[in-house]
Every structure is written in structure tokens, then in C-alpha cells.
Amino acid sequence: MTAHTSTEVSVKNNRSDALIRYGALLALLIFLLLMLLPFFMITINSFKTESEYLANGPFSLPSGFDLEAINTTWALTDYSTKLINSLLISSSTALLAVTLSLFNAFALGIGRIRGRTFFLLFFLMAIALPPESLAYPLYYLFNQIDLYNTRLSIILITAALHTAFGTYLLSSVFRTFNQDILESARLDGCNKLQLLLRIVIPLSWPTLSVLFVFFFIWTWNDFFLPLIFLISNDNQTVPIAMALARGERGMVITTQSAAAFLGVFPAFIFFLLFQRTLTKGIMSGSSK
């Protein structure tokens, strides 16, 4: 009898359990659809003609696959140039920042030189530093050395800022570097440069590539300093161009949608390419 009742209870529990489970799933899926609605809206409305939008409103699906809005915005913003600029700036910045971080962390994490706590604290504060407090003096400095309004200016500045984060992260990773390997390399007569190039870099390659991806995407997404330092059309990045497109003549509701779409699209590509790296990287701080 007792056994019978308990089975009944557990069946009931299972049923209400399943109800809660699928109810929660349904609620989450509805919430997710709402969250993704803005992306859906700019996607369908970038492939309509203006007259179709004005006739049927934003919620109707496009009757065809009209490229007029995309093409107009592409030409108006010189999108190809902006893509190349963004790729060039983001990859150069990431490469420079990873290299500088690697050198710093080699000295602080592997070399454990004196004063490393001070240096690390210094870099940690720099991570939080608002770029507002550097903007004007940098603007003045780069004007003085005739590098203002060049892609190189923003590469150098952004790399310096990212190096603070990279140094901090890599130093803490390097602290746990296998000491036996370092020791035997030393006994084999490895000098410091060989130690870095032949031992440390190959063994920390996965971390370095995660760092590269982070820097690449952060630089791609950056806005405040690039807005100040890249004022001519030939130098600007995708986010800057899309933010400034609004003021261009001939922008209508569908081309504005297309500008948003062209801004979002590369980010989605990166997400698909780097999703694993990014989620792994997000965990890297806490899993240690």
C-alpha cells in the first residue's frame, strides 16, 4: 500500500515536473524570440524597396529579394573600404597587442622580475581607465607628430590599451607554466629569446590565439577613440561609418535599416567563426 502511494506520488511529480520543464522551455523560447526580433526586423526590411515598406509597414515579409537598399547604403558608405579598414586595423592591433602582452608577461609571469606586483597592479588599473581621460592629449600628440587621422594612430593607441588586459591575463597564465620544462630548457643552454620562441610561444599557443580573437573583436567594435582619430572617409571603420551614415543625404527608412544590417552582419560572421573560442575564453578567467 505504502509502495503503491509513493509510486502514484512520483508519477504525479514527474508529470508536474514535465509541465514545469516544458513550460520553462516555452517561456524562454518566447523571450528569446523577442530578444532576436530587432535583428529579424532589420534583416527583412533591408531587402524591401522603400515603397514596399511604406505600403506594408515593417512587419510584412519582403515580397522579393530587393538589393536596392543594401546597394545604396553600400555605395553611400563606401562599405568595401570600411570593411578593409576594419579588418586591417583590428588584425594589426590584435597582433601588436598580443606581441606586447607576450613580452610583458614573459618578464612578469615567467621571469618573475622584481617589482612585478607593482607592474601588474599598474596594468590592472589601466584596464579600467576610461579612454576619455586620454583622448585630448593623444589627439594633440598625434597632431604634433603628423600621425593624426591615420589608421596607424588608432592601431598604436588601441594596442597599448589592450596590452594592459593581455599582460594581466597572460602573466597569471604563465605563473602556472610548467617549471620543469623551463628548468630543462635552461640546463640545455637556452637563452631568453630562444626560451620565448621555442618553448613559451608553442606551449601557450591556444591562449595566445584566444587573446588574439578577443583583441580583434574588441577593436572591431570600438567606437570612442576611432571616432576621434579616424575622420576621413578613407580611414574609417565599419561601426563609425554606420553611425555617420544617418547624416548622409538620400538615407530613407530602408537604407537606414540596411546600414544597421551591414553593421550587424560582420559581427554575426565572427560569432559563427569564433563561437567556441569566445565561450571558452569567457570561461578562462573563472575556470582557473
Binding site: 522551455l25 583622448a135 594592459a164 602556472t176 570612442f224 561601426p239 553611425a243 553593421g263 550587424v264 569567457i282
Partner: protein, 313 residues
């Protein structure tokens, strides 16, 4: 994203320093990094503080005026309005997303991941995270388009469901402009705490939940007393990094409202930028930037200290 550097790594095994090597030669490797750092971060940082004590148009020699800019700021309504708006952005970027992110993380962990498999949980997590991967200024452009007064998505939706009276120029009205920007920021931010909290939850021993269940704790009690308690480090990091981000907000204001209408949506960063590059009030802009920096650095400093103290206990 991975501002998790603020998550302490003190608990990782310290490498055994068997011998102390008298290793010189490592210091050389700091030279490139430190040189660039001194030139492009330390020098501008110090200069900016210096400029804040001057009256300067950006050309000619700056005129030393001591604390006059700071005194002026104290009596400047726009200065205070900027920080008041920054506080409201903290609600939008820190408080609301942290609460929603926590609830979503717990639901995903409790109801989905544990019972329907991690596939669904990963899928939903990736979906909610999607806005985070877009440049924030592009997210602002998307929402500016949604808030369009004529033919915009929001007004079209309201008209379609019979609420035409509610339609308005969302970003052009002083009463609705900042709440509209805040809505966009909540949407943008939710994924960040969610992802961090979900990874934190993996540390929690399921047996603790079993024990709580046996003791008769309900779902809400479990959430507050166990989940929140266990992932306190993650919550602290999310609160710190998003508060800093809220204080630095620039792009969304630039792209959506230009600080307007009037000064209804101006924020510290935008105020500084405008003084630097629009009205050439460089000294005053530097003052705002210095105050902002001081707030951010003090917050970071106290956070790190609190974290270190907690570990020593």
C-alpha cells in the same frame, strides 16, 4: 566580455619555486610594452589632469586657472545632469541585466540544462548572448531605427494593436528619450551576466541543492541562499565591469540622441567629448574626464581590495 581578469586567480596553485634563479635578462622584454605604455597611456593621463587646471581652447598656451574648472563644474547643472543620467544607465546596464541574467541562468541551469540536456541550454545561452557580439553603437543604430517617429517599428506596432495614442517621437521627447536608450541597453547587456553566471553555476555542487530540498527550502529560498551565495564572485565581477561600462557609455548616446533633446540624455563621456571637440572647451572637458576617471579608478581599487581581504579571511 572577458573582463574576468577581475575574478581572482589567487586560488590557483602557486608554482613551486624550488630554486631562486638569479635570472637577469627578463627585464629587457618589458621595454617595448612599457615604452608604448608610458607614451600612450601614462603621459596622456597625466597631461589630461594637468589640462583640467587650465583654460585652453586647444591652440596657443593653456592658461593656468587652478581649481576654477572644478568649481565651475560644481555649480553646472549639465555636469550634474550628466552624472545623474550615468546613474540611470547603471540601472539599465548593471542592475536590471544582473537580475534578469541571474533568473535566466538559474532557469536555464535548473529546468533546462539539468532535465532537458545541455544542448537546449547552450542554444538558448548563445541566443541571449547574440546582442553582446554586435558593436554597441551598431546596436544603438538598430534601435534608433526601431524608435523612428515616422514608420518606425515601435510606432507601427502600437498603431497595429490599436494604441495609436501612445505613438510618439521616442528619442525626440525629453521624457521618453533616456528610457528608450535604457531599453536598448538592457537588451544589449542581458547576455553578459547570463554567460558569466552560467559558468559560475557549474562550480556549485548539486548535492548542496539536494540537501536544501530535503531541508524543505523552496525554489526562491534556494535561489537567494545558495545560488546567489555561491556565485557571489561572479556577481561582483559583473556588477563592477558593467558599472564601469555604464559610466563610460558614449556610442549609444552619440548615435541615438546626441545628448538631446536639450541635455536630457547627456552623459559624462559625451559631455567631455563635446567640450573637447565640439566647443573647444578643452580645460573643462579634461575636468569632466578627470572626475569620471577618478570615480572609475576608485571603484576598481576598492573592489580589488575588498576581494583580496575576503580571500585572506
Amino acid at each position: 566580455m572577458a573582463q574576468n581578469v577581475f575574478l581572482s586567480d589567487k586560488n590557483q596553485a602557486q608554482p613551486q619555486q624550488t630554486k631562486s634563479y638569479k635570472d637577469s635578462g627578463y627585464g629587457w622584454f618589458l621595454i617595448p610594452g612599457i615604452s608604448i605604455f608610458l607614451l600612450l597611456i601614462v603621459l596622456p593621463f597625466v597631461s589630461n589632469i594637468g589640462i583640467s587646471f587650465t583654460k585652453w581652447q586647444g591652440i596657443g598656451a593653456p592658461e593656468w586657472i587652478g581649481l576654477a574648472n572644478y568649481q565651475r563644474a560644481m555649480g553646472d547643472a549639465v555636469f550634474w545632469a550628466s552624472f545623474k543620467n550615468n546613474l540611470l544607465l547603471i540601472i539599465a546596464m548593471t542592475i536590471i541585466p544582473t537580475i534578469i541574467g541571474l533568473l535566466l541562468a538559474v532557469i536555464l541551469y535548473d529546468f533546462i540544462s539539468q532535465r532537458l540536456g545541455t544542448g537546449w541550454a547552450s542554444f538558448l545561452r548563445a541566443g541571449f548572448y547574440l546582442p553582446q557580439i554586435v558593436p554597441i553603437v551598431v546596436a544603438a543604430i538598430v534601435w534608433k531605427w526601431i524608435f523612428q517617429p515616422d514608420w518606425g517599428v515601435l510606432n507601427s506596432l502600437l498603431t497595429a494593436i490599436g494604441l495609436e495614442a501612445w505613438t510618439q517621437n521616442w528619442l525626440g521627447n525629453a521624457r521618453t528619450a533616456l528610457p528608450s536608450v535604457m531599453l536598448m541597453l538592457v537588451w544589449f547587456q542581458i547576455g553578459y551576466p547570463l554567460v558569466i553566471f552560467m559558468s559560475g553555476l557549474q562550480r556549485v555542487d548539486p548535492q548542496v541543492y539536494e540537501a536544501a530540498k530535503i531541508d524543505g527550502a523552496n525554489w526562491f529560498q534556494t535561489l537567494i541562499h545558495i545560488t546567489v551565495y555561491m556565485i557571489k564572485p561572479e556577481i561582483a565581477v559583473v556588477v563592477l565591469t558593467t558599472t564601469i561600462a555604464a559610466l563610460k557609455t558614449f556610442g549609444p548616446i552619440y548615435a541615438m540622441t546626441s545628448g538631446g533633446p536639450g541635455n536630457a540624455t547627456t552623459v559624462a563621456s559625451y559631455f567631455a567629448w563635446k567640450n573637447f571637440f565640439e566647443i573647444s572647451n578643452v580645460g573643462y572637458g579634461a575636468t569632466m574626464a578627470t572626475v569620471l576617471t577618478l570615480i572609475v579608478l576608485l571603484m576598481t581599487f576598492f573592489f580589488i581590495r575588498a576581494q583580496n581581504q575576503q580571500e585572506e579571511d
